[in-house]
Symmetry: C2
Subunit: 197 residues, 2 copies
């Protein structure tokens, strides 16, 4: 019974682990079940499809990430300092993954966005909501930075926030391609350029 | 005999077409052969593996892209104007793909970089060379822009060129995620911010 009660969680965790480095299409249900130690017949008791499972994996991943985002962006420090803490944290994640697994795995959300946007509408829709939420969080901290006089008012916009997120995803792509997390060291100085700060 | 002599080219073309929208892992050799109208048994006469085929597809794609890059970057115009022509051309590609296929398919090279960097070392290595070549081309035009006084000398660097390429790839990711090529309209103003121009 203990095993049954956690099979769903094990499937979510196994899929998250495998998908971070391998993406969606190369994973089969059989492999996910083997990693989770769940009988293949049970899979469809918990999830109607690999796509439905993936949406839940994405949700769980973003819940964890969002806690980090909120932790980084909260506090009494000036807004730009909090934004820097957020972006430095993203660089740290790539560094730690390289140290533990040997590879820069990139961002699960960005990986799936490029792999699945033209193929899996349900996953794409959820990823779009999450990226919109990220852009809104950055735009919020930019508005605070502008109020503090640290960023020109005409840079405290949704468009600038989106460019910062684009810069993050592009740098993560190049870090993954080179399997070199130090590529991310360039993120903050270039984010400052985008902010005109 | 005519058919035999072009089977290789048909396999390359079919794979390029399928891979641009679908990525690598979701494609099987059988599907590629069906699209190319080539018997599956012949596939391994031409390519030792799907990975080997993919490296050739990437090469062919980049040869085509490079011709566009060189066309955009050549000419008597000021360097920044030529760089803008290059980036506007990238936005046009996404717009045209949306018009013809209904979806923003993104950049084959960026798609494969995120999907395969941790999985297919041969493809990864070739993609790394191509992105290095892109960064060098942008760095070259930034050096010209600096000589013309259009960009501060301390911005005419490899790091800035890499940040511009990261911005391109990040914006393409967000355009693909939203299936909205107008996201790319933001590319040039943000590239100018990165250049301090």
């Amino acid at each position: 019974m203990g095993r049954t009660s956690t099979a769903r969680e094990r499937l979510l965790e196994a899929t998250g682990d495998l998908m971070r480095s391998r993406g969606y299409s190369s994973l089969g249900v059989a492999e996910i079940c083997a990693r989770a130690d769940v009988k293949k017949g049970s899979f469809y008791h918990f999830f109607e499809s690999k796509q439905a499972l993936t949406v839940e994996v994405v949700d769980a991943y973003w819940r964890g990430e969002l806690a980090c985002w909120n932790g980084a962006l909260a506090g009494p420090e000036p807004a730009l300092e909090r934004l820097r803490r957020l972006l430095d944290g993203m660089a740290d994640v790539q560094r730690r993954t390289k140290e533990t697994s040997g590879t820069v795995d990139g961002c699960l959300l960005g990986n799936l966005a490029l792999e699945l946007s033209t193929q899996e509408p349900g996953v794409r829709a959820r990823l779009e909501e999450i990226f919109d939420e990220q852009i809104a969080l950055v735009a919020g901290v930019l508005a605070e930075a502008a109020a503090e006089g640290a960023v020109p008012a005409d840079r405290a916009t949704h468009a600038t926030a989106r460019a910062v997120i684009a810069q993050v995803e592009g740098m993560v792509l190049l870090a993954k391609l080179k399997n070199d997390p130090t590529v991310m060291d360039d993120l903050w100085p270039h984010a400052l350029m985008l902010l005109g700060a």
